[in-house]
């Protein structure tokens, strides 16, 4: 693990430790895929077991979910711009787009919490039925990941402000970028298999 720096590579890949960390994070995302796949599997088994409680059509607010989707997909796009700015060595642009990403992410999270409150007001809680247990845990796990990502990204922004763009801060930014895109991919599956499929019955 020498600290030799290879300037021919993008900033985040310049040191050996950075290359190890980035590969390690990809493998971690592999484990995350298994985790979400299991949650989807559980939802797939339980999603029609309403136990006399509310069904998909009774609770889903498709308009709000569409707005959530647009917010999160846009945030993934702005995260892409942020990494693009990082590659251009534009620290200000990078931080600007990271902040935009986080604002969009927070908007998504705010709407998701509202959605949960709405469900609970309708009497659809995690304790109501197997369907709702699996729905809340699947959405909640994704939401918890987004929350964690926001806190984490704030830490990275603080370090970018304090230390500027170094191989280490660039690696941290790149990895949070990977994480953010992953959450977006998961949401696409949630939107398709939970909301759209739920709407058509």
């Amino acid at each position: 693990m020498s600290s030799k720096i290879d300037h021919s590579l993008p900033l985040e890949y310049q040191t050996e430790q950075n290359r190890l960390n980035i590969l390690g994070f990809w493998i971690f995302l592999g484990a995350e895929i298994v985790l979400f796949a299991t949650l989807f599997g559980v939802y797939g088994v339980l999603y029609q077991r309403y136990a006399g409680g509310p069904t998909h059509q009774d609770i889903i607010m498709i308009k709000d979910v569409l707005i959530q989707t647009v917010l999160l997909l846009t945030s993934s796009f702005t995260m892409g711009i942020a990494i693009f700015e990082m590659r251009r060595q534009q620290l200000k642009g990078l931080i600007f787009w990271l902040v935009i990403t986080l604002l969009l992410g927070s908007g998504f999270l705010f709407m998701e919490i509202n959605e949960f409150i709405h469900y609970v007001h309708l009497g659809a809680t995690m304790q109501t039925s197997a369907f709702l247990s699996s729905l809340f845990v699947l959405l909640g796990t994704h939401g918890a990941h987004v929350t964690f990502g926001i806190i984490w990204a704030i830490m990275v922004i603080i370090q970018l402000v304090r230390r500027g763009l170094t191989p280490t801060t660039a690696r941290k930014t790149f990895i949070i970028g990977l994480y953010w895109h992953f959450l977006d991919v998961v949401w696409i599956f949630i939107f398709t298999f939970v909301y759209l499929k739920g709407m058509v019955g």
Binding site: M1, R19, L23, I27, A31, T38, V42, Q127, A130, S133
Partner: protein, 658 residues
């Protein structure tokens, strides 16, 4: 909250009272001993905060030996209870708790840390690396495992142990039928330890993919490294499933969700499916590194290159794949129909093919070899016939139709002990005898080792062989007693006597460690067995930086070739450069403690306290994010001094096997 304080400590059972007193005395003894010897600082700076893969490996192994003791005591208690019909040594509840903790501890807190410990010590050395890819994460893995293990172990004196079997099937494990907090321990403690294991898996995959020394292509890796790599891949593929299953169990038990409950549309068999989707790959996570250990040892002590290297690699890949597609064979009786059961019967029986290939490869490795009967080799030899018995009975159990007869009987219990004990425990013993000098700089005594070997192997067969016949006669597992009329008494007695012999074997092992620490010859070379792979190109015990100059390899058995061609064994002063090392850190230990504390509160459903403790977890993560420690460098002079010490030893140096 609503915890009844009078039920906080388990009272009223003399056995448990004795354990409580013993625990308090041991803890006081340890604290007093460390204080008296003025070793606190040493303990903190050399061990607790270490990020050195070798020391972390040793800590894993020590924990594994302690847990072996605990799990073994559980086993002996069970054997005592069933030694005679209608015994009243343990009541049914106590028996339930003991077989549950025996299973969980032996699989997750004994076998796993033993193997991960050996992987930690050996893999970086075998691939010619100076450490794993993420040294501090490695320490975190250990402390999470340790936190989880301790949390699980206090269950039998505080609050009550889980009692629904190590598989914790629903609906029994649910709140409805197990209202106590015992099964909360299961859900929370295994979750914490499981996170540690997952992180280890990621660490080893990256280490093995990216940190191999120059010239070591994938197909030139030692077999133990290969099996560790594939086991790590299975960890990454399987442990998240367990994470989810345990989380859902927690939601069911603590927050009234309906995943596995009988009411509210839950499906109890969903738990069984999720559990074994993780659980079956888990047994291959255990047995694959063990196969690697045998490959190394048999090759070393037969003085031959491993026979059929490529077919060995292919077999472990096939086993890894098949391990993911057999889980239903654990519950053919669920009633999923002949078509499903047939498919899973075929995939199950197919595992015998790659495993058989491996067995033949080991036998052919020994053929025409100059075999040295060291203890490590003896364990490897005993493994072959014992494991074949386990494997063949496994094929019997794998036949869906026949399984209806064997299901839930002692036949099954005998089968999996015949796979796990030769497949994992024998391998761990073999590995400890073999790699002990790399860890501690002396070999374990071979003569006491013979006692250990014979007592353990004879005891093992005497304990579990009768259980095949008991099972075929209809003795069910997990039953705390049986009637005189059943006619089971003689075989149960043989089994109980066998377990005592088995325990004596384990004590011989402990005595061997004690004797060897006191008396063993310290003046040994880095290569006491005349071995073949790169870990033996280092000192015994290994230098902190492993290799002064990273070796280059161009084939299998690189160290053997270095010795034959007499090249690369010495080091020139000009080759030595300063070496970068990672700094020690107290953070992993801190994380293990806060995870343990938060977990404890969660077990007792004290949610506010758990949330406060969880803030400690977040704080630890944030601290880590802002930690820019770059490590330190070992100066050239210090390396020269260390190297000259072991490369030019004065006086007689002993090679244990010529």
């Amino acid at each position: 909250m609503g915890i009844k304080w009078n039920e906080f400590f388990i009272t009223g059972d003399p056995l448990i009272l004795g354990s409580q007193i013993a625990i308090v005395l041991t803890m006081v003894g340890i604290v007093a001993g460390v204080t008296y010897l003025k070793k606190w600082k040493w303990l903190w700076s050399e061990w607790i905060t270490t990020v050195d893969h070798k020391r972390i490996g040793i800590m894993y192994i020590i924990s594994g030996v302690l847990m072996f003791f605990r799990g073994g005591m559980d086993g002996l208690l069970m054997k005592a209870q069933t030694s005679r019909p209608e015994m009243e040594f343990l009541d049914a509840q106590h028996y339930n708790e003991i077989f549950t903790t025996h299973g969980v501890i032996m699989i997750l807190f004994m076998a796993m840390p033993m193997l991960i410990g050996i992987m930690n010590v050996v893999v970086p050395l075998q691939i010619g690396a100076r450490d794993v890819a993420f040294p501090q994460l490695n320490a975190l893995s250990f402390w999470l495992f340790f936190g989880g293990a301790m949390l699980f172990n206090i269950s039998f004196v505080i609050g009550g142990s889980p009692d629904a079997g190590w598989t914790s099937y629903f609906p029994l494990a649910g709140k409805e039928f197990s209202p106590g907090i015992g099964n909360n321990y299961y859900a929370v403690a295994l979750q914490i330890a499981g996170i540690g294991t997952l992180l280890s898996g990621i660490n080893f995959v990256v280490t093995i993919l990216k940190m191999r020394t120059k010239g070591m292509t994938l197909m030139k890796m030692p077999m133990f490294t290969w099996t560790s790599f594939i086991a790590s891949v299975i960890i990454i593929a399987a442990f998240p499933i367990f994470t989810v299953a345990l989380a859902l169990m927690t939601f069911d038990r603590l927050y009234g969700a309906h995943f596995f409950t009988l009411s509210g549309g839950g499906l109890d068999m969903l738990w069984a499916n999720l559990f074994w989707l993780w659980g079956h790959p888990e047994v291959y996570i255990l047995v694959l590194p063990a196969f690697g250990i045998y490959s190394e040892i048999i090759s070393t002590f037969s003085r031959k290159t491993l026979f059929g290297y490529k077919s060995m690699v292919l077999s472990i890949l096939i086993i890894a794949f098949l391990s993911m597609v057999v889980w239903v064979h654990h519950f053919y009786t669920m009633g999923s129909g002949p078509a499903v059961n047939s498919i899973f019967s075929i995939t199950t029986m197919a595992i015998a093919v790659p495993t058989g290939i491996k067995i033949f490869n080991w036998l052919f490795t020994m053929r025409k070899g100059r075999i040295k009967m060291t203890n490590a080799m003896l364990w490897s030899l005993a493994f072959v016939p014992c494991f074949i018995i386990g494997g063949v009975t496994g094929v019997m159990l794998g036949m869906g139709a026949a399984d209806y007869q064997y299901h839930n009987t002692l036949f099954l219990v005998a089968h999996f002990h015949y796979t796990i004990i030769p497949g994992v425990v024998f391998a761990v013993f073999a590995a400890l005898y073999y790699w002990w000098p790399k860890m501690f700089g002396f070999t374990l005594n071979e003569k006491i080792g013979r006692w250990h070997f014979w007592l353990f192997v004879i005891g093992f067969n005497a304990t579990f062989m009768p259980m095949f016949f008991l099972g075929l006669d209809g003795a069910v597992r997990r039953s705390y007693t049986y009637s005189v009329e059943s006619g089971f008494a003689p075989l149960f007695l043989v089994s109980a006597i066998g377990s005592v012999i088995l325990a004596l074997g384990f004590f011989a092992f402990c005595y061997n460690i004690y004797w060897s620490i006191r008396h063993a010859d310290r003046n040994i070379t880095g290569d006491p067995w005349n071995a073949r792979t790169l870990e033996w190109a280092t000192a015994s015990p290994v230098q902190p930086y492993n290799f002064a100059k990273l070796p280059e390899v161009d084939g299998l058995d690189p160290f053997w070739k270095m010795k034959k061609n007499n090249e690369g064994l010495t080091i020139k002063d000009s080759d030595i450069e300063e070496i970068h090392m990672p700094s020690n850190s107290g953070l992993p230990f801190f994380m293990g403690v806060v995870f343990g504390v938060a977990g404890f509160f969660l077990v007792f459903e004290w949610h506010i306290a758990a949330a406060i403790a969880a803030i400690g977890i977040i704080a630890g993560l944030i601290y880590r994010s802002f930690d820019y420690d770059e490590g330190y460098h070992i100066p050239v002079d210090e390396i020269k001094e260390t190297e000259s010490k072991w490369r030019n030893v004065e006086g007689e140096v002993h090679n244990y096997v010529k």
